[in-house]
Amino acid sequence: MRYPIEPKAWIATLFALLVAAPASAYWTPGDDDKKSSEDAEDAEADEEDEEEQERWFAAVGGDVHDGSGGVLRGATLLAKNGKIEEIGYDLYIPEDTETLDVSGYQIWPGLVSAASSGLFGGSSALEDTVDPFNRSMVLALGSGITSAVQSNQAGKLKRGEIEGIVMTPKVFTPFSYKNSDPRTKTGLEKKLAEASAYRREYMQWEEDVKKDKDLKAPSKKGIDGSTLEVLAGTTWAKFAADSRTDLLGIARLAQRYGFRPVIEGCTEGWTVADELGRAGAFAIMTPRGRKTKSERLVRDGGSSIENAAILHGAGVQIAIVPATTSISLNGIVGRDMMHLPVEAGFAIRGGLPEQAALDAITRVPARLMRVEHRVGSLEVGKDCDLIITDGDVLHYQTFVQWAVVEGKVVYNKEEELFFAHIRPRPEAAFAPEAKLDAGETLEPDDQEASSEEEESGEDDSDDGDDDGDDDER
């Protein structure tokens, strides 16, 4: 397209052509051309800015257990700005990606705990009291936990940061229902009845107001707000109950008023598993908990190693927490938050399927925290919260080697004081000598890792060959 050139502009152009040397020989007059080239430059600059903001993380060569049963052997997990971008093989890894060579190790979703105390340092509202440097947080990350409920808030163990700690500001509405204390029963039933009646009235009003615009909405006065939240399904009703009688009562109450109860304890749940399953209950339980049967009862009672398995079989969703929900460095080893996966592993002993045991410390608590779309399993689009272990996450011998939260390495076993001396990582694994280009992976020096890669049927020239000498340049 050509533009008419005004005389003045033409003279100026000529002048410019004369003054400027051959470099401007191809320069054509016209403001628009100039503008468009400037635009292009701007766009480029913008792109550069965007790229600067992008934060990439890649864990290369590990066996990716996505948390829902799938395994990709020797695969790469790539995350952008804290979200999982891609999981697979032969991925293009952008420059400046923080790359972790994890060949020979396993990648699991970061564990989630449905109850905790002290992991975030503070004791009340997380966003104002969190101490993201406190020892409990480091130890919890070292135990594989990347998200937890504390002070009724769902939080993420972001080490060294206080932004974005809280994922869900209110998780549970605590309800009390005890057979031994009739007031709690009548009180709760009254609250539920009122709230339920209000909801019915409100729904009726919503219909009626379409016909008659002047109708007033039903009064909320005297209705318990938290109970309404429970009935509306925005928070979970949480009960602490262990005995068969209480559990039955709760299950029936939940069915009558149509909400899903979350039952902490649930020790005798196995005796009324069907009822609880029908009520759509969740159980936050401690498989190693002990309770003796009440002598006065003629029915089944007390704790059972099969509790989790039976409840799971009846359709109850199981979340598992240890007996002590804080990091405790006193008393008997193995009962505190550092042993969350061990606790889940114990349920397997009683017959719980392995997948259900893993779900009990990942997906189910994530569901309870209402952040299942972000944490609990490794899927494209979810938060890059993962742990890299030297074995099956539910095995008692397994150590967390690295913990990653939102694409940042927040725990490295070799760099922390706590477990570095126990079965240290082979040096090559944590201090690779060779500088890698983006997209390349280290030679698998581990026999096991390379054989696994062969199994996966990968025809990757970089990773697959066993002789390895040609690749060294």
């Binding site: 340092g121 509202a125 009291t129 101490d131 993201p132 440097f133």
Partner: protein
């Protein structure tokens, strides 16, 4: 050469200017070495003092006859008087535990306290005294540790606002609430001003329209307008006559403190106890841009090295004790003061505690962390000019420079060596401690 000339000229002028104070006038001090802080170490220094001020300092300056000269023994060193910007020596009393930014430490001074002579013995010639209490207890004052009345002690008031910040909702809210109140005040004030402006405008109009009225009575349209005007005028009269001089809404002192913070005329000294507090402080501050320094007690186990880089990036001042701390959970010593300084923070040192013993051991303690890797110059500066700058009194205090107060500390050797002792302390031209022969 120039120096010599001007010195001679000054000396020639001096006696005529101050005939009455023959002995209190000029005094020269000759010493092997002076740590000027502002201009490094000076060998064979001559310091000329008059009327409590340093009038000249230079190498091997010739001294005119008739001026009393003090020749300090070989190996002695002159430093600026030390500045402890964070002390409660000589004060007592309980403070508030919530937000009282308007309270002044200057109003609770006890000039007769026995602590002050003791402080002088430790070589300290300027103290920053802060008000007691938790939360935001008030504003600190810079004092000279000598004087009969509080007024005669004060070097500068409102030198910093003390803020104690912990990772709690209440603590963080004190800061945000303070600025919120200020915003509310400014909003009110703006409306008030607008109202006043509008009233002034109307007054002018009124005068004009009343004139116009007489001029064009016949125009109907104008008539209508005038009616409106009249109505409005009536309203105005009903409200009240607006004053000719604008009267701003009263600024409450507690709001003024935050206004001063935002204007930059007052800086905050924020006391934190762990790394998390620092992050929460930044969070509480939000977009607010104010001058602030950090007070970080190193005498307890502390994890502040975790955010040393971040603090260093900001280039703020950090007020710490000269002590080595143990890495939490280990027996590994860390020189956190040096780490902070290396990271880019401006180091301000204070004695390990407010006791006389700590004050006297201040130089020795600093020597310990210098031996453990802290830069020597930085350490000297951290006890003199840097705290003076923190309190905004660097034009008078903190270094050996012309025009500054003659606050001198005379030691008989390297100040950071354990064997060195304080031989004399000069406060504004007068020896207040020691046996230095005049």
């Amino acid at each position: 050469m120039n120096l010599t000339l001007s010195l001679l000229a000054l000396i020639a002028l001096a006696p005529s200017a101050l005939p009455a104070r023959s002995s209190g006038g000029l005094l020269a001090l000759r010493v092997d070495r002076a740590e000027t802080i502002a201009n490094g170490t000076m060998e064979h220094a001559v310091i000329l003092i008059e009327d409590g001020k340093i009038v000249m300092i230079g190498e091997d300056l010739p001294i005119d006859r008739g001026i009393p000269v003090i020749d300090l023994p070989a190996g002695w060193i002159v430093l600026p008087g030390l500045v402890n910007c964070y002390s409660r020596a000589g004060m007592d009393g309980k403070g508030p535990s919530d937000s009282k930014p308007e309270l002044l430490a200057s109003s609770v001074l006890y000039p007769a306290s026995e602590a002050y002579p003791e402080v002088i013995e430790a070589g300290i010639t300027t103290l920053g005294q802060y008000p007691p209490g938790n939360g935001i207890p008030g504003q600190a004052v810079a004092v000279r540790p000598q004087g009969d009345t509080p007024e005669s002690m004060i070097v500068a008031d409102n030198v910093y606002l003390k803020v104690i910040l912990r990772a709690t909702k209440a603590s963080k809210k004190r800061i945000s609430a303070g600025f919120k109140k200020l915003d509310e005040y400014l909003e009110k004030e703006k409306k008030n001003r607008e109202k006043w402006d509008a009233a002034q405008e109307k007054k002018k109009k009124k005068k004009k329209s009343s004139k116009k009225k007489k001029d064009d009575d016949d125009d109907d349209k104008k008539d209508d307008d005038d009616k409106k005007d009249e109505d409005e005028d009536k309203k105005d009269d009903d409200e009240k006559d607006s004053p000719d001089v604008y009267e701003p809404i009263e600024l409450k002192p507690e709001v003024k403190a935050f206004k001063d913070l935002r204007d930059g005329s007052l800086d905050a000294l924020v006391s934190i106890s762990k790394s998390a507090d620092y992050l929460h402080f930044l969070d509480a501050l939000g977009e607010e841009e104010i001058g602030w320094s950090l007070r970080i007690p190193l005498t307890r186990e502390i994890d502040i090295f975790l955010v040393a880089d971040k603090i260093g990036e900001d280039g703020r001042r950090v007020v710490v004790e000269p002590t080595l701390s143990l890495h939490p959970g280990t027996m590994r010593a860390r020189n956190i003061a040096a780490e902070l300084s290396r990271a880019g923070a401006k180091l301000v040192l204070v004695p390990r505690s407010d006791s006389l013993k700590s004050h006297k051991a201040w130089l020795r303690h600093t020597g310990e962390i210098v031996a453990a890797g802290l830069d020597r110059e930085t350490a000297l500066r951290a006890m003199t000019l840097e705290p003076a700058e923190l309190m905004g009194v660097e034009d008078r205090i903190g270094s050996l420079e012309e025009g500054k107060d003659a606050n001198l500390l005379i030691v008989n050797g390297d100040p950071f060596e354990p064997g060195t002792s304080i031989e004399g302390v000069m406060l504004e031209g007068e020896f207040v401690f020691g046996e230095v022969n005049q």
